[in-house]
């Protein structure tokens, strides 16, 4: 017991250091602004930003915006899951197709896809469809690649077990390949959803439409400095919470790992 408390004590030090230095930094910025060394019309005081939180939550319908962004992300994720996993399965099933296109998919995954948002604006209009499609476009390629990686990483022994039981290709897929690939597929899905979410918030900001991204754009266009900073902090907090949540979810879904 005493050993574990000692460990807990040493374990606390980094956390305290991390939070402490952020607190010191914030206090320093506050002091520098109060002393007039930083222009308060460029950087609002942290206390002002803090006070702006309840204001933007009440006046700017943050809850409704949050719901909108999350529902856009949800729609995009469903598309990513369907097309990403199906694409990975397809490439795994047809070796020739995989040899021909895997590098293309990898190139697409590495390409700055979000830059085609003006094209989507023309095709889908300034609407939620553009935002959802942008999220889907950004998320699908990594999911395809990870699904493919998971399926091809199935151990030879497992496949041979399936063969020796004379499984049909469908049974082989559902009983052997898919369960063995699931952990990697989850990694792909998580990556896909993160890309989708980043792009959704980014495009909301860029085209000034929809949820949380638009909130930042609007506040900054109104020169509501404290509000803009508070909204940015809020969006960062939300995305960090989503990332943590998805990591937990992934760990919970793959307890054997």
């Amino acid at each position: 017991m005493s050993r574990s408390t000692a460990l807990a004590k040493t374990g606390l030090l980094p956390a305290v250091l991390g939070i402490g230095s952020i607190a010191v930094l914030v206090a320093l910025v506050e002091a520098l602004i109060r002393l007039g060394l930083i222009n308060r019309f460029i950087v609002p005081m942290p206390s002002e930003i803090f006070l702006a939180f309840p204001r933007i939550v009440v006046e700017e319908n943050v809850l409704a915006r949050f719901t909108l962004t999350i529902s856009e992300a949800f729609s995009a994720s469903i598309l990513v899951a369907i097309f990403g996993i199906a694409g990975g399965v397809l490439l795994h099933r047809f070796t020739l197709l995989r040899q021909a296109t895997e590098t293309w998919v990898a190139a697409i995954a590495a390409a700055p896809l979000v830059l085609i948002y003006p094209l989507y604006l023309v095709i889908f209009g300034r609407s939620a469809t553009t935002i959802v499609m942008m999220g889907f476009t950004a998320g699908v390629a990594p999911t395809v690649l990870k699904t493919l990686e998971g399926l091809s990483g199935t151990r030879r022994v497992l496949i041979d077990v399936g063969r020796s039981f004379n499984l049909t290709p469908a049974q082989q897929f559902w009983k052997i390949l898919l369960p063995s690939a699931l952990p990697t597929i989850f990694v792909g899905l998580r990556l896909g959803l993160i890309f989708a979410l980043i792009n959704i918030v980014g495009v909301e900001f860029l085209i000034n439409f929809g949820g949380l991204g638009q909130l930042i754009n609007e506040l900054s266009e109104r020169y509501d400095l404290a509000g803009t900073y508070a909204a940015i902090c809020f969006v960062v907090l939300v995305s960090v919470c989503v990332f943590v949540l998805m990591e937990r979810l992934e760990r919970w879904l793959r307890p054997g790992d």
Binding site: G18, A107, P112, V114, L115, L119, S152
Partner: protein, 266 residues
């Protein structure tokens, strides 16, 4: 892994006289996509000009590439991305080394970087405009902020994978911090550094160009959004093609030069 090995082995040997089936399929897919595109363009099913004919895109591409103003804008964007990479890369390198060298630092701060890394950077753009103005400064800042995180995290992870023997060798030669960094750490983590740079370039490109589409009067991002406001679709397609060729090419080039392909194979 064994499967991947087998695949590359079969892909390596083309039969004489016939086009390799993979090549044939690739050509087939490209032809099919282009033919479908042309059919859709000719059918008028979509709004006019949303899917312009291939000839129109080719002409726009030729016009873009032979126009000197394009190169002015390309240079503006290239300059912004270059400076962003230098600033973001060097600060990422410093922070990455600090995090990788000290367990305490890593446990105190790395989680913040890890979770801040994937947040959408473009939302910081209004702040960057206030700090660095509406000109190139705010775009450089966007690019630098974007590439800082992946570079720092990659280098921190790379530091921890350095063979402890190498570090002990450095210590037994009583190397100072600078010598440790230049003689031991950096050469030993060449691959994580190059990989961080590759990812960093990708996100710096996105950060800079997105910022250009939001508010600027020069750069490729500006040209794209101008094509959008003028509804000049062939021009927009041609710009996007150029942009993707450049970014995918740069990505592949860094990977190739850095020998990332070799370590993936082995």
């Amino acid at each position: 892994m064994a499967e991947a090995g087998r695949l590359t082995a079969t892909a390596g040997g083309p039969r004489r006289g016939f086009p390799h089936p993979v090549t044939a399929l690739r050509v087939g897919i490209i032809v099919a996509v282009l033919a479908t595109w042309e059919l859709v363009a000719a059918s008028g099913l979509l709004y006019r000009d949303v899917v312009p004919s291939l000839a129109a895109i080719a002409i726009a591409l030729y016009k873009t590439l032979s126009d000197s103003t394009f190169y002015f804008h390309l240079a503006a964007t290239g300059y912004e991305i270059g400076i962003a990479l230098v600033i973001g890369g060097l600060s990422g390198l410093a922070v990455g080394i600090a995090l990788g060298a000290s367990k305490l630092m890593a446990r105190a701060y790395e989680a913040y970087l890890y979770y801040l890394g994937p947040t959408p950077k473009i939302i910081f753009f209004p702040v960057m405009i206030m700090w660095f103005g509406v000109g190139a400064g705010s775009k450089v800042a966007m690019g630098a902020v974007s590439c800082f995180f992946p570079i720092a995290l990659n280098i921190a992870a790379g530091m921890r994978e350095i063979d402890p023997v190498l570090i002990r060798v450095g210590a037994s030669f009583r190397a100072n911090t600078w010598q440790m960094v230049t003689k031991i750490y950096l050469p030993a983590m060449r691959y994580p550094v190059i990989n961080g740079l590759r990812i960093g370039l990708g996100v710096a490109l996105i950060g800079t160009l997105l910022a250009e589409t939001k508010l600027s009067n020069r750069g490729i991002g500006f040209l794209v959004i101008q094509a959008y406001s003028l509804f000049d679709m062939p021009q927009m397609y041609s710009l996007l093609i150029v942009l993707f060729v450049i970014s995918i090419g740069a990505n592949a080039l860094i990977g190739r030069l850095g020998g990332l392909h070799d370590i993936k194979r082995s």
